[in-house]
């Protein structure tokens, strides 16, 4: 029924329909008004691929992880709280909240998780690489690497500009952080 009205790619627009009777405070809007600003949902698993459900699921996973990790800690009694009491309490609360959020997502979820580009995540790879290279190779190698790889994560990356920026920023930070402020960071390898 919904597909006839809105078309297969506009699944997050359908907030009102036979399954979701409009509530009093959310008057039914024409489908076109709901398009603005929503990203397209990737994939055809409409019901599962919505933000609320995924968020709820994530919280449940965290809560379960907390409970599993806290299994070994003594819970103690109310008077003498053991190390396990607060974590168990919080973990259970998180599972409960996550479940409610996930269920709400299943019932009334409209927006899909926006599919994004993966290239910006290169920034995090750059940070991790910096972490591993800083001690053995020093700032002089790790910093330009960070700047170049990080800049490459952006949409308008140009090699020469990136290289120039890398040299400039490395020099600047070495001067500022190591020489001026005296932070204990190795500049050269070895």
């Amino acid at each position: 029924m919904r597909d006839l009205d809105n078309g297969p790619e506009r699944d997050e627009a359908a907030g009102a329909g036979p399954q979701n009777p409009p509530r009093g405070d959310h008057p039914v809007k024409p489908a076109s008004a709901m398009q603005s600003g929503h990203a397209r949902a990737a994939g055809s698993k409409r019901k599962l691929n919505n933000r609320e459900f995924c968020a709820g699921l994530m919280f449940v996973v965290f809560g379960v992880a907390a409970l599993i990790l806290a299994r070994g800690y003594a819970v103690g009694s109310a008077v003498r709280m053991g190390p396990g009491l607060f974590p168990t309490l919080l973990g259970s609360l998180l599972i409960g909240l996550g479940t409610i959020i996930a269920v709400r997502g299943l019932l009334t979820g409209r927006e899909g998780v926006p599919a994004g580009k993966l290239r910006p995540l290169l920034v995090l790879v750059a940070v991790a690489a910096f972490a591993l290279l800083l001690k053995p190779l020093g700032l002089a190698i790790a910093a330009p690497m960070l700047v170049m790889v990080g800049a490459a994560a952006g949409p308008d990356f140009q090699l020469r500009e990136g290289a120039a920026l890398a040299i400039l920023l490395t020099g600047l930070s070495a001067a500022l952080f190591v020489y001026a402020l005296g932070l204990p960071i190795q500049v050269w390898p070895g």
């Binding site: 405070d25 965290f62 973990g91 995540l121 995090l124 940070v127 949409p155 308008d156 930070s173 960071i185």
Partner: protein, 500 residues
């Protein structure tokens, strides 16, 4: 009069050359950061925190505070000239401020914003000076049950003000609380949630969390968006002084904005953002001709600008007197205090009067710096606006990483920050607000401590939170706030306000 003596002491501390330098550096950096779109005061403070660890606590706080309210000033500049809010609280300034700029009245808008902010800053400082000692007095009588309930209230208030679903915000708070528990439990000596990694036995460093969740995640998220065209208005801003008509129209909104901001900033969960939105709504409601709003009404700049600066100043009060962070920036300040070995709470005023009053006096000085510096330096800020983001963010990345590394010289910390960056990215995609998580993270161990002590005092009776009057009152307010968020018409209003 007591307050007078305290302020004299404060100025004595604030006017030392070193502290003046820190104040200046902070406000200058803050304005710089506020002007540059794409970097917020939160990420900047997270980035500069490790550097301030080497300074003595008063100087560190003075600089950090300067960055915070300096960023309010800078943010308005971008909002007016480029229609891009430099940071969150400047969003409302875009509405009328940019329209004024397009009508050739950029100078007047900038001038009124600066004057209004200065006035609000002065009043804010006075409010702190008068109000804080009284509040600390009351707080000294708090027992652990009251503190626990107060923290609950503070976290709930933060949830109420978060964008998006309140239920998800509460879940983020709980997640933050759990993350705060990682490490060694001081009371029992038990090592929790460390996954066998020795680097986690002292807990996750909060700079790691802040930089990862807010700094790195923001960069990743920004890079995923398409670059927006920035229409820079008026290369030449000749007249920065507002005309007499402008002043005539603006002085009442400035007064109202200041009052509103001062009041809202004190509330847990309040601060610059809430104050500026509230002020805009108020001015629009009571204006004789509301249709002017959105088309260059000077009231739409004067009110919110004063409100957000007043809110930024008074939001220090709960942090300094009660040890409760109103927002993420205050959470970082608390972290900074703890690193310096100062436990935030009502006793700070009596045990570290030089710190407390020196900070307050320095905030007034900072406002003065900003007024005097910003108006002449407008030209420089404008030129900075044209620095493209692709050159900025690698710098943020490098400085941030160096900052993180400088805390414990730990490679692990950097890796952890990258992991938090990934989580932050996921959170943004799932529309989960990271701020409640940070607040929970900072307060987690403290809440457990107070819960434990309260239970000990009550001999295991959980009703102690309800039997003590102050605690009961706070929990009831928290419950009321939560219910209000779920109530339909409040929900609509929140969406309205955030969509403006």
């Amino acid at each position: 009069m007591d307050a007078f003596e305290h302020l004299i002491l404060g100025f004595g501390v604030a006017l030392t050359p070193l502290n003046l330098l820190y104040c200046f550096a902070g406000t200058f950096l803050g304005t710089l950061i506020g002007v540059l779109p794409g970097i917020g005061p939160l990420a900047t403070i997270a980035m500069l925190l490790p550097i301030t660890f080497n300074l003595e606590p008063t100087g560190a706080l003075i600089m950090l505070a300067g960055i915070y309210y300096g960023a309010q000033y800078g943010g308005s500049t971008t909002a007016i000239l480029v229609n891009l809010p430099g940071e969150a609280a400047s969003v409302v300034t875009c509405l009328d401020g940019h329209q004024m700029a397009r009508q050739g009245r950029a100078g007047a808008a900038l001038g009124i914003a600066a004057l209004g902010s200065f006035f609000a800053g002065c009043v804010g400082t006075l409010v702190i000076g008068l109000f804080a000692p009284a509040l600390a007095e009351i707080a000294l009588r708090f027992g652990p049950a009251e503190y626990f309930s107060l923290m609950v209230l503070g976290l709930v208030a933060a949830v109420v003000l978060a964008h998006g679903s309140p239920l998800q915000a509460v879940a983020m708070v709980v997640l933050g609380l759990l993350l705060g528990l990682v490490g060694t439990d001081v009371n029992t000596g038990a090592v929790r949630f460390t996954l066998g990694l020795p680097q986690l036995s002292d807990g996750i460093d909060f700079v790691v969390v802040a930089m990862g969740l807010f700094g790195f995640a923001e960069i990743v998220s920004n890079l995923g968006k398409r670059a927006s065209d920035r229409e820079l208005v008026a290369a030449r801003i000749s007249n920065v002084l507002p005309s007499r008509e402008d002043l005539q129209a603006a002085w009442r909104p400035i007064l109202r904005g200041t009052a509103l901001g001062s009041a809202l900033g004190i509330l847990p969960g309040g601060g610059a953002l809430l104050s500026s939105f509230a002020s805009y709504t108020l001015e629009k409601k009571i204006a004789r001709d509301p249709s002017r709003f959105g088309n260059g009404a000077i009231e739409g700049v004067a009110g919110p600008e004063s409100a957000n600066n007043a809110g930024a100043q008074t939001s220090f009060i709960p942090m300094l007197t009660l040890g409760i962070p109103s927002n993420a920036v205050m959470a970082l300040m608390i972290g900074a205090l703890m690193i310096h070995g100062i436990a935030p709470g009502p006793q700070v005023m009596t045990s570290e009067p030089r710190l407390f009053w020196g900070l307050i006096a320095s905030m007034w000085l900072g406002n003065l710096f900003l007024l005097v510096l910003n108006l002449p330096l407008i030209g420089i800020w404008i030129r900075l606006l044209s620095v493209p983001y692709r050159l900025l963010f690698p710098a943020i990345l490098l400085f941030g990483c160096i900052g993180i590394f400088s805390v414990r010289s730990s490679m692990f910390d950097l890796l952890a920050a990258a992991v938090f960056g990934l989580f932050g990215f996921i959170f943004i995609k799932l529309r989960c607000e990271p701020t409640p998580l940070l607040l929970g993270f900072i307060l987690g161990p403290l809440m457990e401590e107070y819960l434990r002590r309260a239970m000990l005092l009550s001999r295991g009776d959980p009703l102690i939170f309800l039997s003590r009057p102050l605690s009961l009152m706070m929990l009831m307010v928290a419950a009321a706030l939560l219910l209000l968020t779920v109530a339909p018409n409040v929900r609509r209003k929140r969406i309205e306000v955030f969509q403006d």
